[in-house]
Symmetry: C2
DNA sequence: GCTTTTGCGCTATGATATAACGTTTTAGGA
DNA sequence: TCCTAAAACGTTATATCATAGCGCAAAAGC
């Protein structure tokens, strides 16, 4: 029986300065409106998440934070991430044990993400019908959806190419 | 800002001897048919997973295995689980870092599971339309679904009751 | 200004998962 | 049957991800 393992992803870096700016601005709006406190650390973590603009692990964030000079502990990152999640500013992807900035923090949507099992690439499905169907099916079983994204493991086009 | 934490689940134990028997029989059929080797350890792990008949963590399985007398290492469990997953006999739920026996190992379906964020209760959605929709949406973005279950975080009826 | 809550630094530890290597078992061909 | 290669497994060590618990400081509410 064949038991192949997956390979890690490697993609070219990319300057997401604009994304960071936009995300931080949105975060400030959201936090002001809802009286959440976007402290310097939280803002910094959000920036790091968006600068990456790909799923990023807590300890990667920690490493980035450390470059600022301090000696932050995991707690620092996890606390900031907990806040950001609850404020709807970042999503946690359980599949990858990683975090991703939320595009539209203003509306409480629960997106669907395709996650490549091989390279960890992520794509978001934007489909209101799918969303509604999920909500209805959940409802029929007595469940109420929350804002967590639905993760769908799949193989992406690049990885599907034999090799 | 309110930041509430989730509470663990607690449900009455339940004798799943029948489920175990059925699951093991199915596993033996599948493995015979596809020439997979259902070794004693693998079978034992499958039994433990089914005896629980709820998502069970790798280290819980390890503890159960240890009761048999040996001193198994995590590897033992993870290797067995890897086999069982690839054989389609158990699912891994990333949301819970836990494993669950697959009801219908004979057909390669990718089920959808509702997972309660509060109590970890799990319910399976059986919906071919949903399944097809997911597959199509994935396809449109160049992704091909694999056999991994889709996990949908939600709040179950019991946990939704205020209190 | 006092109290309560919230945020955060810090140390430690828990929980989950894998690497690496050697030995044993199994399957299948010479 | 014996040999060989692959697969399964034991064992030790370590990597990775996440939380507990405590004390201090800053901020919010009275």
């Amino acid at each position: 029986m064949r038991m192949s393992k997956s390979a890690p992803a490697q993609r070219p870096a990319h300057d997401h300065r604009r994304c960071v700016e936009r995300a931080v601005a949105a975060a400030e709006r959201v936090c002001t409106a809802r009286q959440f406190k976007l402290t310097p650390i939280r803002k910094r973590v959000l920036e790091i998440v968006w600068r990456q603009h790909e799923p990023i692990g807590a300890y990667e964030i920690l490493a980035e934070l450390a470059k600022d000079g301090g000696k932050p502990a995991p707690q620092t990152v996890y606390r900031a991430l907990e806040f950001l999640q609850q404020a709807g500013l970042v999503h946690r992807l359980d599949t990858l044990n990683a975090f991703l900035g939320c595009d539209r923090p203003e509306d409480t949507h629960s997106g669907q993400f395709l996650v490549c099992s091989r390279c960890r690439r992520v794509a978001e499905i934007e489909d209101s019908v799918l969303n509604r169907t999920l909500r209805e099916r959940a409802r029929a079983l007595g469940f109420r959806l929350d804002a967590s994204p639905v993760e769908i493991k799949a193989i992406c086009a690049q990885c599907a190419i034999p090799g």
